[in-house]
Structure formats: C-alpha cells, structure tokens
Amino acid sequence: MSRLGTYTRRGFLVGSVAVAGGVVFGVRTYNARLENPLTAGLAPGEAALTPYVKITADGITIITPRAEMGQGIHTTLASLVAEELDVELNQIGIEHGPPSSAYFNGGVVEEGYPFPTTDNGAVAEFARAQRDIPAVFLGYQITGGSTSTHDAYVKMRRAGAVARETLKAAAAARTGLPAMQLTTEAGAVVLPDKTRIPYTDLAAEAAATDLADVPELRPRGAWRILGKSQDRLDVVDKTTGRAIYASDIRLPGMRFGALRRSPHLGGSLRGFDASDALEMPGVDAVLDVGTGVVAVARDTWTAMRALDVVSYDWAPPTYPTNTAGHFEAIAAAFNPDQLDSRQRDEGNVEAALANATTIEGEYRAPYLAHATMEPMSAAALMQDGALQIWAGTQGPTVARREAALAAGIPEDSVTISTTLLGGAFGRRGEMDFVQIAARVAVQMQGTPVLLTYPREEDTSRGPYRPAAIGRFRATVADGVPVAVDISTASPSIMAGIDARGGAPAPIPGFLPDFTLAQALWDQPYGIENYRVSGYKSEPLLSVGFWRSVGASQNSFFHECMMDELALAADRDPVEMRLALMTDAPSRAVLEAVAEMAGWGSAPATGRARGVAFALAFGVPTAQIVEIEQTDSGIMVRDVWIAADVGVALDPRNLDAQLISGVNYGLSAAIGEEITLTDSAVDQSNFHDYPVLRMYQAPRIHTRILENQRHIRGIGEPGTPAVAPALANAVFALTGERLRELPLGKNVRFA
C-alpha cells in the first residue's frame, strides 16, 4: 500500500467531510494532525479501528469521547457506532478515552457563526461544512452548547461502518471468500454457510488490515438502534451506587483536600497563617495554591475544619461592593462605546420609532450559580515527573494543557482520566479545579490527593451566569409590532475565559462575544424595523457558561417583550407570534404546543397560562406554563414543551433532557439569585440558594418534532423559554408584569 493511501485512509473521518464540503485544499495537512490516540495503548493482537472502535480478544469497546454529565450522551454516541458496526448495545463496553484532538467537536465552532441556525442559504451551509477544520486544529474536545449529537451524527456512524467493513475484509482474507458474500450481525461476520466469526476473534487480523473506505451509511429506514428509545448504558450503575465520579476516586494512601479561596472573587491571597490548622490531628499540610489555600488531611471533613482556623489576608476586590453597584455598571454599558455587536438591523428603527407611540421596558436577570449536585472535585497524583488527574471535565484537552501549566511540566507528562460528571451545566468547562488539583499534587509528590470544594466554596466563588439587563422600545400598528429596538447588556463570558485558562485557543479581543446577544438577535420573527444590540459591561464578577448561556437571560427579555407587544396590539400571544414567524419548523413547534395545552380553551378557575418561544442552539422550542394560585402561593402545575431536533435519535432520552432543561430553568426563574454585600457573595449553600424541590416540580408534557433540516442536541434548548413563559403566566394570573428574575422576589411561590 502506498504511503499516500495510508495517509488518506487514516484521515478518512475528516477527509471525507472536507471533500463533501467541497474543500480539497489542505486536506493532507489537516489529516496529518489526526493521530489515532488508541494506537499507543494497544497490545499485540488488539485493533483500534478508527479512534472510536477498539476490538480485543476480550471484547468490543466504543469510545464515547464526550463528557457524560447526565444528558445520556455516552449511550447516544455508542448507538451511532453500534448501528453501523452491527453490534448490540449489550455486547459492548464504553470508555471515555484519552484527551485527543482526534475527538474534536466541530459543532462548538458552528455556534459562533454569524448566521442564524435557520439560515439554510449557500453561504451558511458552506461555512457549516468547513466547521471541522478550525475545530480539529484547535483541538476542541469539548462537551457543551448542545453540540455533541450533531457533531457526531455522521462521524461516528462512519467510524462504525469503516470498522465493520475492515472486519469483513479481515474475514475475507482468512476464509478466502469475497467480502461481498459476507454479512455482519450482532458482533460477528457471517459466512454464506451461516458460520459466525465473532469480531473479537478477528481482532489480530483486523489490526493488520488497511482500513476500508467509507461505505455509504444506512438509510434511516434500515436503523435497528437509532430512532428507538434505548436503556442508558450507565443506568444500572447509577441505580446501584456503582457509578464513579471524580469525588469517588480512591487510591492507596490517598489524602483529602478542601479548598478556600478569596471571598472577593478572583482576588489574590496576600498571605495566611496556618499554625493552628497544622496542630489539628489528621491535618497533613496547608498549601498555597495561588488563588487560595488547600488543607490536606486524613479525611475531607478534617480538611474542611482546618480551613476554618486558618487566618487569611485577602486582597480587596476591584468590582463594586454590592449588587446594586453591579447593575449600575451593567446599565452604564448601554452606550455606543460599549456596543459589542449589532447582528440584526433591519428597516429603519430610529425613524419608525421617532413619532410613534412607544412601549418601553427594562428587564433584569441576576448572577446565577450552577449548583451541580456534585461539588467541584478532582483527584491528582504527581510521581516521578508524571502527573495524573481524574476529573469530570467538559474539556479534557484544555484540562491537560492547564494541568501542565499549573504543574510546570510538559503536556505529555500529564494524563487526564475523565470520570462521570455529577452534573455540569457549563460549570465543568471551567478549569479551576484541574489547575488547583495540579498545584496540590506538585506539593504532595507521591501522595494521591482528592480535592473537594466544600459546597460553600462551590456556591459563593463563581464563575456565574452573567447578571444582565435587557431594554426594549417598540411600537405596534394594525395588530403587529412594526418596530422593535431591543438590547442586552452584561459582562462578557468570552472576555474572562482566556484569563482563567478555559479557552481551547486564545480568543481575539476584537471579536464580538457571540454568547452576549445569543437568542436575542436570531429569533425567527419578521418585523419590518428590527434592531438587536449587545453591550459589553466592564468586567465584574467572573462569568461563565450556564446551561443555555446567553439564551438563559435573552429569551426572558425577548419573549416577555413579545407578550407586552401582543397586549399592546390586542392580539393573542400565540397567534401574533405565528403571524410573525418566518421559519416553518419554528411555527410548527408553537402550533404543536398550543394544541397540546389546549391554548384555545380557558384554563380552570384560579389558573392561568403563559407562552414563550426560543430558538437556541438551533432548536426551535415553544413552551406553555400553567400556574395556579393556592393558599401557600403560586404553584406551577403543568408545562407543555415542543422542540424540533431534526432527527430524534433516542426519544425517551430527548424527553428526559427536555424535562431536565425545563426544571433547571424553572428553578432559576422561581428562586435562584446570587447577590453581593460588602464585596462578598451572600449565598453559600442550598438553605440560602434555594433550588427546585420535588413538591414544586410540575407535570411536564413533551413533544419532539423532526421538521428542521439539521440534527440538533437537546441538553440546553429546554431551559430558555420557561422563565418568560412563567412570567407571562404570572401576568395573566395577577395582571402584574414582573420584569425581574427571580420572579419569587416579587410574587410568592409555594
């Protein structure tokens, strides 16, 4: 086989994508970057057929290189490979695999494109076809932005198909039969006489066989696994206490660390006195980790108590001392110098509003904590110059780089093992727990340490969902909005991420922050004069990705405005939106949800409904919330939600993710808020950062549609529209327009 041949085939996964997109240029260099990270760990007789399929005499392993944080992605990714490989899900093992740029996520890059996801025009489609090229160069192995499914949809089915054809080629060589006469089924190659050769039996020969070319993928009608609800591969472990999260890593001789950082977020440590702590029985060490102090002890409880008797000298913060000061700084950002983006500017808004009767409103959304159920944690061991870290991270390639930097060693001396994640919601894309674990390991050479953030540290030190303000001016005529000028302002997520070490590659400062006006500028409404602006405030608290990112505040601003405009136009809010919508799949989800909720009929006495729509992460989603006034306050009774994901790979898991997204958004809309007094965050644990509990959880009715052209992920789209739908329901119930989140500040919920 020629060198060139080997080259092309090794790179087939991306090479073929690039060719399909019409790019032949640069294919060689592009391919050359893509090593198969599994090859290094193979023993003789074992085969790594593509970076996703590993076959040994003992079994078949599918690599599912995305973070499993509850969204069921390991099962969906394994299903994509298994469908084409012709194995059943109960015949395989799954592994997250090592950090590698081979596992890049092209979908993440697409989220930043300046085309609305409903734009199927030639330029937008061309850009989407190119998306894998920058992603692989930058080594984005990231789980976020609800991108995993559409990134993997073709790529991982191809991996399964190539592995299958390669196994057939190996069987053909062994038997002397033409490959065309062989079939595959349930993990075996089947000969014409029905003899079965298990794949595991072919491992050694397959390893020596050149990878087959990419065959045509099977049409949807032929799917056995995809499109049907599957039992999650992790569900038994998670139901019997066997699932292992980073906090559960236990190694011989392990010690336990707890962290304390400055109450002034991101602030530095001028000094500390740990003499009392070091006298406590069970305490091994009190370490300076740059941004704070880690006590290391026999157990986590002792480490936490040791932190309480250390005296700290923290440098004062640079941000305003209280919540009001932060909102003043955000309000001050609405000026031309701080304009970050104006991605929509249609008609002539100024002229249309100049002599019109206008409706105006200002909305506010607070800082929010992620409050994952598992507090941040990581285990680390530094020994003989090599650093091993076990962490539930959303970005293992970045984690490896950051661990190496923090430890002052080369990247190839660092091993990252990605565990299950006890919830993430964007928080575990941050690198702080990896960096700190590395600094601990360097100072505790030879001793494995499990670092745990006390819940108080996790809640009160950020990074948070940005606090934000939305403002609009609009006018209506003849039953429709004719001019809308809507703006959002907040601190920038992307501006802070470089400094914290969370970015895969440096983010040029001149680029607008695509998260800032997300789901504000690209909503599929046709309004004659329509302008959408994003303003970047000065840096305040450190802010990061929080489930649905910019959409989490911007949908609230936009969709409450739509309710106000429908009222002004004397139109039904569903009917007015339908009249304005320019995108058929978006219209279809709104029609579906109205039908599901019986929108046309009046709710029972004492109840009221609100509606909202959001296009976020490429998924049009509509929600209707029904609430009831009870003696103990407002109860949310029912939520109906319809979403269009293009292709529904696992219906029951999509239902679970929509329910999860709704409850997460509802929790924040009712009661979550991070505030500051005297430069420190007021909230510390679940007693003062109340999250949704069982008795507050409504019935949630879901429907998945498949009208849109692209396959989309579902981890985030359930979240944005629930807050505005709830606020609009409260208006319908009480006549009071609540323009500030959480709504529980101004109305009583049960």
Partner: protein, 152 residues
C-alpha cells in the same frame, strides 16, 4: 469503633464527632454515599440506620444507634430491590449523583406507606434535591415500585 454496614462489621479508628458521611466515604471508601451540602439540605448522603432514612452528614459517628444500610445493601445489579428495578424501568438517572440518596429515601417511604399518593411522595421526597430535574420520573418510579411490592 465498630459499625455494622450492610450486614458486615467494620472497625474504624476515627474521631467520635466525625459525621458518618465522611467515615463512610473517606474512612471506609463507601463512595455511593454522596456529599452534597453537609447541612441537611440536599439528601445526597441519605443512608438507613435500623431501616430509617437519615442524613449521614448529620449523624456523628459516636451517635450511630444501629445497623447501617447503604444502597449496596438495598440491592445489587444481580438482585435489584423493587425500587431499583422501577428506577431502571423508568430510566430515572441522569447524572445520577443524587440517586443513591433518592432511592434510600424512597425505600423508607414505602416501608412506612406502601401505597403513597403523589402528595405523600412530594412530602417524603422534598428533602432530596435533584439538579437534573428527574422529579417526574422519580414520582412515577415510586408508584411503580409500590405496585410491584404489593403484588409480591
């Protein structure tokens, strides 16, 4: 100090005032018992003492008054408890971090109230947080398990 956990005896040499949670997790490596808050607000640390659900973050080691059961003692993959079978049937778990505590709490509920209503479930389970929002499926799974246990 001697502890009986899932039927076997363990000797631990740890301070009297250490919360049971940390003795289990860090002293005995029983990591199915989770830390979520440390202040009785989340239920992730729920285990049974003499069949009653308790927050192990609130029980000092010296005060442990009986036999401890963790989720491993409730059922295993080969011999699932009816609640675990229902949990799998309804595919409840997402990230899964809260679920050991949820199931231990639900087992306590069904032991006292074999036919709970939605309101009973809400009342018994509202001390157990789930940030993945699996509450509707938890409710459904508790009802299924209750039915299954009646049939036996």
């Amino acid at each position: 100090m001697d502890l009986t956990i899932n039927g076997s005896r363990h000797n631990v040499d740890l301070p009297d005032d250490m919360p049971l949670l940390w003795a289990l997790r860090d002293g005995l490596n029983i990591t199915s018992v989770k830390y979520g808050c440390g202040i009785a607000q989340c239920g992730a640390c729920t285990v049974h003492i003499d069949g009653e659900a308790v927050r192990s973050c609130q029980v000092a080691l010296a005060d442990v008054w009986g036999e401890i059961t963790t989720i491993e003692g409730l059922g295993t993959p080969d011999a699932l408890h009816a609640l675990q079978a229902a949990w799998i049937d309804h595919q409840v778990a997402q990230c899964g971090y809260c679920q050991s505590g949820q199931i231990m709490q639900a087992a306590d509920l069904l032991a006292r109230n074999p036919k709970p209503t939605d309101e009973d479930i809400d009342a018994a389970m509202s001390g157990n947080l789930c940030r993945c929002g699996t509450y509707p499926r938890i409710r459904a799974a508790v009802h299924s398990a209750a039915r299954a246990m009646q049939e036996v």
